[in-house]
């Protein structure tokens, strides 16, 4: 009886600790968001979004950083999405079980675990120096594309796997070729899953700072990039440089820029979760 009671007490206390830890995680999230909003909200206005960076914290804005981030994302989409989906299609639909395909799979799993700053060194060695693109927005976008490629490939494969084989077989029975089947049947019905993965990978890319510092993103860019070979700044880079300044005013500006970055990140994640739920319901 005594033993039984003891076990029950241990069981209940563990339940309490587990609940507390879970709530602690959420509490920390709330503290983080609350403090950033408390510090930064005073600077959120139209001027902040449309002003150039400045030496005076109260006049500094994020215009070039936002444009840089948007340009960078656009280029990354152009490079990474076709290649990522193509690679996913190949691995799921074409590659036969061979040493080569096993190697490809192990390699992709490994790439997903390489720290992002190493991709920065890759970009520096290959795109900035070897190809001579310099610390340009093109080098940045190519580096980011390689970084998110494994995420897009894995998401594409998962989405294609979920397409019922009967759909494909029906298409083949109608005399469609392999590519016609992929193009007209497999890709459209896995579209939701692929899109979810793509948005998640972009929401990761938009917050990446370290690899782009290595590739050469600038702390201070007083103009909008006009060509692929222009230097660039991005929102996380702006946050980083403001955070490391000693003046109080820059901490406020950094907090305001963080609010903008978090809104973008959360909206993208929200859309991805919404799409995933919608798509899952449709298939089942």
């Amino acid at each position: 009886m005594n033993n039984l009671q003891k076990n029950r007490i241990i069981d209940t206390s563990f339940k309490t600790v587990g609940l507390l830890f879970t709530l602690l995680g959420i509490l920390i999230l709330v503290i983080l968001l609350y403090n950033i909003i408390r510090v930064g909200y005073t600077r959120i206005n139209w001027d902040f979004l449309t002003s150039l960076p400045s030496r005076k914290p109260e006049r500094a804005g994020i215009f070039t950083a936002i444009i840089g981030t948007l340009d960078l994302m656009l280029l990354t989409i152009v490079f990474a999405i076709p290649v990522g989906i193509g690679a996913g299609l190949y691995l799921e639909e074409y590659a036969k079980k061979s040493r080569w395909s096993t190697l490809l799979e192990i390699n992709i799993a490994n790439l997903a675990g390489v720290p992002s700053i190493i991709y920065g060194l890759l970009g520096l060695g290959i795109f900035v120096r070897f190809f001579g693109f310099g610390g340009s927005i093109l080098s940045g976008a190519l580096t980011l594309s390689l970084l998110i490629l494994p995420i897009i490939i894995v998401a594409t494969r998962e989405a294609i796997k979920a397409v019922p084989p009967s759909l494909k077989e029906a298409s083949f029975a109608l005399g469609a070729s392999k590519w016609q089947t992929l193009q007209k049947v497999v890709l459209p019905s896995s579209f939701g899953g692929i899109l979810t993965g793509v948005i998640l990978s972009l929401s990761r890319a938009i917050g990446e700072t370290a690899p782009l510092i290595v590739v050469g993103a600038m702390a201070y860019v007083p103009f909008i990039p006009h060509s692929l070979f222009d230097t660039f700044s991005i929102l996380p880079m702006q946050i980083f440089t403001w955070t490391t300044r000693p003046q109080e005013g820059f901490a406020i500006a950094a907090a305001a820029a963080i609010i903008i970055l978090l809104v973008i990140t959360f909206v993208m994640n929200g859309i991805a979760v919404y799409l995933r739920n919608k798509w899952q319901n449709k298939l089942s």
Binding site: F14, F21, G86, L104, I118, L124, F240, L261
Partner: protein
């Protein structure tokens, strides 16, 4: 028609091959510049010197001080994330009502979606001042605050992946344990965690790998002084934050400063590669066990 199909297949194969070129590119770039580096600096000095001062006039190239900073911050992070993450995983799997679990897991995963530069800001402007209230001797830049915040960031890695592993344990095991009259706690500790151990270990290894590769939190909150020390209250430098420091300056190509970041990067790559390989190997073994 046939030709078109063939061309498309080749194009898609090329897309997949880019991932191989990426790996080759990483290794080639790191090795190429590191070999140039080791022509100037002896390997013995690199591994035994306890000072790292390539940016000073009196240069030392002892990677140990960067490695100690890297492992110190990562160890603090794991010390936070492992107990909390694993407890959360067990709680969500064994105790929490289903609806609760379905809401809480995504909320916790938000922690992993926040950009790391935001955590750096949080560590420097909120956590460090808070810790200084408790322990006034804490310096403005320190590995304690950076490590703690990094730990918070990787809680969802451990909690979500471990919960997935617990979820994958056959129901019959759990029911058999309950049938013997065990409490949920006994079932969790004696049956579920051992049965899911490989999945849990993989999640922890991935978390460690993530922690030693983490850059922005340490670059912002831990300072820029490479020190061969395990004191968490003083400034330190990790491999990653050193690379950031050099990149923020303008080290000319071919200079020794420029080459150091590749030698440091190669060291980091080897650590994470080792960890990823071990986790891959465990995962593979585990899959065989269940088939």
């Amino acid at each position: 028609m046939k030709i078109k199909e063939k061309i498309i297949e080749i194009l898609l194969k090329l897309c997949a091959s880019i991932t191989i070129f990426t790996t080759i590119g990483i290794i080639a770039v790191l090795l190429f510049e590191s070999i140039a580096f080791f022509k100037n600096v002896s390997i013995l000095e690199f591994f035994t010197d306890t000072q790292w001062t390539p940016l000073f006039s009196e240069k030392h190239f002892g990677i140990l001080s960067l490695v100690s900073g890297t492992f110190l911050t990562a160890a603090i992070a794991i010390a936070v994330a492992l107990p909390i993450g694993l407890t959360i995983a067990i709680y969500l799997n064994m105790y929490a009502p289903k609806s609760f679990r379905k809401t809480l897991k995504p909320i916790l995963e938000i922690l992993a979606a926040i950009p790391t530069v935001v955590y750096g800001f949080f560590a420097l402007t909120i956590v460090t001042p808070f810790l200084q209230n408790i322990y006034p001797d804490l310096e403005t830049f320190n590995s304690l605050s950076a490590g703690l915040v990094m730990g918070i960031m990787i809680i969802p890695f451990i909690s979500s992946l471990s919960e997935d592993a617990l979820y994958a344990v056959p129901k019959s095991l759990k029911e058999a344990s309950f049938g013997m009259g065990s409490t949920r706690y006994q079932t969790a500790i004696k049956v579920m965690v051992p049965a899911a151990s490989s999945g849990i270990i993989v999640s922890v290894i991935l978390a460690i790998s993530r922690a030693i590769g983490e850059t922005m939190i340490v670059a912002i909150a831990a300072g820029q002084q490479a020190q061969f020390s395990l004191d968490p209250t003083i400034p330190t430098q990790t491999i990653t934050s050193y690379i950031v420091q050099v990149s923020m300056g303008d080290a000319p190509q071919g200079s020794i400063e420029y080459k150091t970041i590749f030698a440091a990067g190669l060291t980091l790559f080897l650590f994470t590669f080792l960890l990823n390989t071990v986790s891959f190997w465990i995962k593979k073994k585990y899959q065989e066990k269940y088939e």
